[in-house]
Amino acid sequence: MRRTLQASTPTPRPRRLAVLTRSRTDRVLAGVAGGIGERLGVDPVVVRLAFVVLAFAGGFGVLLYLFGWLIGPEAPEGTEPRPAPGTETGVRQIVSVALVVAGGLLLLRTGGLWFGDAVVWPVALAAFGSAIIWTRTDESGRARWLRFASTLSGRPLDAAALGRPTRGRIAAGAVLVLAGMATFLVANNSQSALRTLFFAVLVSVTGLGLILAPWMWQLGRQLAEERRERIRSEERSEVAAHLHDSVLQTLALIQRSTSPEEMTSLARVQERELRAWLYGRNGRRAPAEGSARTLGAAFDQMAGRVEGIHHVPVDLVTVGDCPMDDRLTALIDAAGEAASNAARHSGAGLVSVYVEAAPEAVSVYVRDEGVGFETGNLPPDRGGIAQSIVGRMERNGGLATVTSKPAEGTEVHLRMPRRLSS
């Protein structure tokens, strides 16, 4: 017992952990056995088998388990004390638990809670054997099983890898399980040959179950854990890959850039891209390249392009969203032209783009607080407005209005109906 206590102390676990805390991670039913096992530093398999044996004592084990379920709080999430790797449940611990259970059985037998000597003792014996085989040692359960399996199949074994205690325990456990089955058969020897056959089959299946069930349970849990871990690490590497491709590259570019404008625009492009990746509108993850599927994504790309070319921040606000089509592509091209004009000619430090997708039409405002101009008196180098903005919009059934005054900035309003009224 002292070893048990010592084994349990090195794990940093909360002091207030009650004996009957139910385990969150190690559970078959409600985690009662898992909790007790972790608390005592004994393999939960042993505790589970003890419950099974006690269940044969007039159902006492079932009552005890339900009691533990009722009063045992679930261990707080995340703080589950896992047994330290060095926690080894030796034969000594199993014997201790077995003796406690045996004492309990004798007590219950005196008290009359009993299914009969012929049932309980063989079950206890078989469970004891099963516990010896299946308790956690310092090796992983699966490795042990694999060795066990190769022992059974008679394949040549690496004698060094097969630890002697393991082989000895398997043998001892199997002998005990078989002894339990035999005792049961002998004790329940009945006159009817049919009943004997039935019992023999039942007992064999139970014995096999006692030998194999804990392994199957553990194996299933290990596989589930491995799968979770794999999903987690895949997710992690996807994030890492993305951060490397985008954020780290941009940070490197920023370190090498010489002008503050360039740094700012690099940072803004990256911000836009990361933002789209993190909180993608309506769950979409904005494609880095290629054509966007929705209006919002397409405007994101447009704004990023203008910032990248002209090194002027573009503040984009989008209300509503809709799928892209040809006419909206024309709208975005016109808006991009307006934003480029603002970035190139206005001298303003910021271009504001506002997009509102209403059911009947999409409205876009491109605005700057730059030098502005007389709308009736376009500078020759800004003739682009006529063709690439107004012309493009009108050809596609839309409308463009340019409002500007010297020293008061410029605002271009674009409006594109969603459906052509037929």
Binding site: E271, T318, R367
Partner: protein
Amino acid sequence: MTEAGGRLRVFLVDDHRLFLSGVRAELGERFDVVGEATDVESAVAGIRSTRPDVVLVDVHMPGGGGQAVIERVSPVLPEARFLALSVSDAAEDVIAVIRAGARGYVTKTISPADLAAAIVRVQGGDAVFSPRLAGFVLDAFARDPAPVDDSELDQLTPREREVLRYIARGYAYKQVATRLHISIKTVETHVSAVLHKLQLSSRYELTRWATDRRLV
């Protein structure tokens, strides 16, 4: 709360120390930066002990973010005003911080002068709408078919919508006032009313809208 000199007392909450020191340097000339914190726990304790006029809170922080700070401080210090300040966020997070009680939301790319003006405005009880927040709100209230039992809280008036649209287009309050031929005070009244609706509306759309964003 304001001390004799008339300087506003400001508390900064942000988990990025670099950003904290930057803002402290920018605001130090005009305001008394009475304290700063980098997590929710120390922010709550610090705000309670320093009793600032205005708290700048980051939307995202370990331990619950700006929303948690506001929800825990407001009951004990109702006179403190909150301004959410963040780099780039999901709309539902920003709306959640506003609904917790922040009187505005600005992005960290805001110029020092604009930030100072926003702090003064928030302290005066007005709302501060950045273009992005205006866009979020228009989006949230956009769905037109109103439920049958829709109260006034759940609808923006056409005028409020118009004001928000100008803000979303990048106009400052003063410019909105000029364009609409109203006083700047009226613009502030409209914006405060919108903030009020945003905080108190039980509008089904607000929750559905947030869910849409997260899930669809």
